[in-house]
Symmetry: C2
Subunit: 235 residues, 2 copies
Amino acid sequence: MATSRDMRISISERAAGGARARGRVYTVLRDAIVSTEFHPGQRLSESELAERLGVSRTPIREALVRLRDDRLVEIVPQLGTYVSRISRQAIDDAQFIREALEGAAVRVAATRARPEDIAALDAIIARQREAFRDSDIDRFYFFDDELHRSLCDLSGHGVAWSLSQRASGHLNRIRRLSMTLPAYIDEMIEEHAVVLDAVRRHEPEEAEHALREHLKMVVSAVPDIERSHPDYFES
Amino acid sequence: MATSRDMRISISERAAGGARARGRVYTVLRDAIVSTEFHPGQRLSESELAERLGVSRTPIREALVRLRDDRLVEIVPQLGTYVSRISRQAIDDAQFIREALEGAAVRVAATRARPEDIAALDAIIARQREAFRDSDIDRFYFFDDELHRSLCDLSGHGVAWSLSQRASGHLNRIRRLSMTLPAYIDEMIEEHAVVLDAVRRHEPEEAEHALREHLKMVVSAVPDIERSHPDYFES
DNA sequence: GCCCACATACTTGCATACAAGTATTCGGAG
DNA sequence: CTCCGAATACTTGTATGCAAGTATGTGGGC
């Protein structure tokens, strides 16, 4: 029947929009946690969050359940909801996931990148240098994500980036905290340039290796962060 | 203070348990979808599911939201919830994710596997042959998962398996459907043996290559399934 | 016979009410 | 002063009620 086919089309068109309140709440809470505006270990109250965000407990709960999947909060029945403390195992897991997924993606990206794609990537790095010059950490963080996301998109598997992101909550808190140290930012930009050069020259092996090395740098910041914020960590 | 440290411990102990109704509903619904007991394209009613499972709409909703993250259902506001039709892009994405994650995991597993680990893996393959001999597809499917999960666990990053699974909903429907064909099962078992041999000999490169080749076999079944169930697929 | 308009019955999204259970705190006894 | 117990004020989990919106079926007009 023709109707069923029409319905299918209208469905996929509308599903893309998604819900409004639920998605908004999830994004707001996730940002607050990753930016450590909500401190690791802090207790969260569903009712208080509902009041502050101007919605009822229902969308708050649905967002918290998603955040639990991300291991960013721990929900204990009849007791409370807590921002997860940063876990070394979770960092290690996220690092493994990122290297595997983004490494595989950049390998494909290196074989497929067209000149205009590379120009777009160059532009992103230029913006990173700008943000660094202006000491605008939030903007740098944004364009850092943007670069990695673009590389995944180029591979034809944008889902690699979304998955990597959802798995990288603990790691991203380290990223954000490490960006308060200018030395890290400077080195990050140079490493981005190395990755991009390998992509430009269509060298998949080299690109993957450079990216994996680059990703390892985030982990190297852990001891510094652990020293300055010991209470943010587990056990 | 000592209290806060004690609290932390009790929290992590209890968080492991998790909720009962919500988790149960999610598992039941996911199994129903992946086994195509719920047909791709089928419309689901929150109220009907609530009645059938003996709970209210709330846990049903939370489970459906998780399934939407898995791309297994499409929720259209004020219209209805539908079991996603199998999407070629989703299959391709899942394949990419599985190869990247499990490939990286088996590489590590090959370097770390101790004799007793390998014995355990051998035992799983033996059970697969048993299930094959008894034509018990569900049991074979279970031990297939068990083998892949064990390999990921061996790498020290069990999370690779959970992520891979959550991303593989569309692919798993193909897996289940392809297992109705005995020829596929037989070949799968042999390929498992090849992977395991490489792990036994501590050859990471070879193990990853064999696993990636093995994973590709699932995709090769797509045209067959598409011919026998054209209405299960998108557009 | 065909087509258009309206009412109806459904859907999900959100808000609220109730139930079960825990930590804390306040009061009293020793 | 110390310690024990019960009541209280919270927490999350679940159930239900209401609002907004869409598809469908029915009845009337042409």
